[in-house]
Symmetry: C2
């Protein structure tokens, strides 16, 4: 006989928390919400929510990011499960953290206002509730890992961007300075970057050429790749 429910076991609320990264041409940023409810009212937190009965973990995380940003089909990856007994003072809750990379200029500003959300530079965050600081730390570290191996940086940029902008992004992710010439060689060698004939104006006097990233052109390369070539090695620290 097949059971339809396990017996004598505890059940827990399962939360999803989203570490949402953005990049504003200068700083790597996180989108945080100001809690207007107890507990910890007035403090800052990651956007979160509870797993519903009709959605997978990935779907739930996607829904939660969408609720705050209005965006769909953004880069989203599971980070880690957090389950300390007292991590949530209201009730024991298991949280699965996801991190997301979005184009900071594309999100829905009304929704962000509705949730009293705000973008903070990653290196100047306010105090966060619960264990959200641990989640952010893990997400930062995972992003550094990921960005060194796969061209995920483009998820954080507009469709067209300049190489100085791209370099600034990588410098923000790795909290370091990179050599301009070496950077350009590596990123162009990687493949997938397509130079347009437009120049960006306004940010510098000379103006920089705009590029697009073409996933398909990159993928072709990728299959030749043995999987260990790194786009960037975090420098000595």
């Amino acid at each position: 006989m097949t059971q339809t429910r396990y017996e004598n076991i505890e059940r827990f609320p399962v939360a999803l928390d989203g570490i949402i990264f953005g990049f504003d041409r200068v700083n790597l940023k996180l989108l945080l919400i100001k809690r207007d409810f107890e507990p910890e009212k007035g403090k800052w937190s990651l956007m979160g929510g509870f797993l519903g009965p009709n959605e997978s973990l990935d779907q739930s995380a996607s829904r939660i990011v969408n609720q705050l940003t209005g965006l769909r089909n953004v880069y989203l990856e599971q980070l880690h499960g957090f389950g300390e007994i007292d991590r949530d003072p209201v009730e024991r809750t298991i949280s699965i953290a996801y991190y997301s990379l979005i184009n900071i200029h594309k999100h829905d500003k009304d929704l962000v206002q509705k949730y009293s959300a705000k973008w903070f530079p990653i290196d100047n965050l306010p105090e966060l509730i619960f264990d959200h600081d641990k989640m952010v730390k893990a997400a930062k570290s995972r992003l550094q890992y990921k960005a060194a191996r796969q061209p995920v940086g483009f998820e954080l940029l507009p469709e067209k961007f300049t190489l100085p902008e791209l370099q600034q992004l990588y410098e923000a992710i790795y909290e370091t300075k990179l050599d301009k010439r070496n950077f350009r060689r590596r990123i162009l060698t990687m493949g997938g970057l397509i130079k347009t004939d437009e120049k960006q104006k306004g940010y510098s006097k000379k103006g920089a050429y705009l590029y697009r990233f073409d996933k398909k052109a990159y993928k072709k390369q990728d299959s030749l790749n043995n999987g260990t070539n790194m786009l960037f090695k975090p420098p000595n620290g």
Copy 2:
């Protein structure tokens, strides 16, 4: 007023599943249990259990590995949360998978017998229940990642081991052949390996020197390290 329970949300059983790796001087192996209960009775599965109210995720995973092997303080790391709606036919369950590295000769044989458990070579596994094959695949890939960066391989070996054994282990993890001279240079350069004056007998005519791994000696090196030096790069495939 502070609540003591969230309202209007669903609660789920939270399972922990353990991918337990061992190494028998030749093959990388997994410890699996034969289910003698429904559903999927008679099929093979990872050792698992449900999260209890008084234990964290890490503690629960540790308890579950201990139940099957009798071992404590083994290498254990969270892998990934699995939460597809229909992953468990009995009831919707969220599973957090952990992988563990143990010394295959040290585990409690009676416990293993009690659970009808058996060691299988990683490249010749039986059919597994639910989404356990996905978990195993993820664990393999994580072990490859981890072993390239940190000396976790030693968790799978007895206290004293020979360099040919160590090489055999890395070859099993990466499913490849490695050059003997390059291997020895890299592993010895890494630091932490201490040559004893004992020779192992029985496995070869000449006999190989036994080594120990000293975490402290390795750690010293580690701080000089920029964190990207890899012990092994998976070869081209």
